[in-house]
Amino acid sequence: MGMGISVRNQIAKRAAQEIKTGMTVNLGIGIPTLVANYVPDSMKVMFHAENGILGTGPSPVEGTENANLCNAGGYPVTVVPGASFFDSTTAFGMIRKGLIDITILGAFEVSEEGDLANWIIPGKKVPGVGGALELAQKSKKVIVLMNQVNKNGTSKIVKSCSLPLTAKNCVDMIITEMAVFQIQSGKLTLMEVMEPYSFDDIKAGTDADFLLAESLHS
């Protein structure tokens, strides 16, 4: 993502605030993985892994990794009390049935209406879809963590996605290095401005219409 470690952690920390006790949460690879570090140990959260774990815990101490206990990204994890193992159909049954309270993932583009494009850049990047379709389409709340603008300085928040969609109207929240946006009933709303950015920075970095949250009117 070409983003400094402190900014990545800042975004992850903000995303963690959305997680409440009792929730079932799926974290995508990249910045989303960092979110778990900011969920207090006292909070009972079940992290879901598409490869067949509910209840992954922190990374194991170096030297105690087990290749057969890894998350969907292929990295070693531990499990918490109450964890369960199952096959991939059940892992995705949980997603399809809407039992994932929050999914946190990256994106290439998000439209002002919450359309998500995060799996294919035709002619360039075709890694395949993995579990992105299910997670985006079926989770109760979808939070996108990404840069406000891409390498060329173009906004990743757009009026309408130019890339093939993962799912329509699925994104509920966008957290970037500059801002927090909410999308409700097809309306994009700026909720928070991140230090050291200004409203004008955000305006310049957002290629879509957005409303201002009550708290920002002043």
């Binding site: 290749a67 057969n68 096959d87 991939s88 395949g128 879809v129 299910e134 389409q137 799912a167």
Partner: protein, 224 residues
């Protein structure tokens, strides 16, 4: 008595067959069978599995050696060599959403024709799929998948072919074990019938045709 040798197992592998394999990101890919297939030299394979691991891990090795002609997978992101072969037109790749793919494999093993799901209905993956409306929802018709031979990695097998798996190495293995016309399992440990608790068995031996002793993983994991 289903316990046999790698040599006997390899008799089932010939050029052009469809092989379905268990595993997710290389974890749960059966190392001994994959090495055996490589050594036998079979090629033009049609592969069905969750992904193609990493270039030098598990099923990825078959890709690196250009033994595969086509794939049905959910992603190839962790194996850039597959992406390259696809771009060069050497490898035909069909992408299926991960959960849909798992259900299609399960459906094959359960003798079903397929499943209905609305996953991915807004995506380009849905473009040429048959649809059906039911109770106001449009579903995609996703056909079942089976294979000439399924290859599976288990933690323990008994001599009847009953299987248990190891934590997240379970992933697609129980599904793949059911969906092969022939199912060959390599297990880290082979025990006598009656030594597995009937409650803990994840895959019933009736789905399994042959069990061989695994030599274990011989690759380095990405995090190592």
């Amino acid at each position: 008595m289903k316990v046999s040798s790698l040599d006997k197992a390899l008799e089932y592998f010939n050029d052009g067959i469809t092989i379905m394999y268990g595993g997710f990101g290389g974890i749960g890919n059966p190392p001994t069978l994959i090495n055996g297939i490589i050594e036998k030299g079979v090629t033009d394979l049609h592969l069905i599995g969750n992904d193609v691991a990493f270039p030098d891990i598990g099923i990825g090795r078959l890709i690196q050696l250009e033994r595969a002609k086509s794939l049905i997978v959910s992603h190839i992101g962790s194996n850039p060599i597959a992406g390259q072969q696809m771009t060069e037109g050497k490898l035909k790749v069909e992408f299926s959403p991960q959960g849909t793919l798992a259900e299609r494999i399960r459906a094959g093993g359960m003798g079903l024709g397929g499943i209905l799901t609305d996953t991915g209905i807004d995506s380009i993956l849905a473009e040429n799929k048959k649809r059906i409306d039911m109770n106001g929802i449009t579903y995609l018709i996703e056909p079942a998948l089976t294979a000439d031979v399924s290859i599976v990695y288990a933690k323990k097998a008994d001599t009847f072919g009953n299987l248990i798996f190891d934590m997240s190495a379970r992933n697609t293995n129980p599904l793949v074990a059911q969906a092969g016309n022939i199912t060959i399992v390599e297990a880290d440990e082979i025990v006598q019938e009656g030594e597995l608790n009937p409650e803990e068995i994840v895959t019933s031996g009736v789905f399994v045709d042959m069990v061989i002793q695994s030599q274990g993983v011989d690759w380095k994991w990405v995090w190592e």
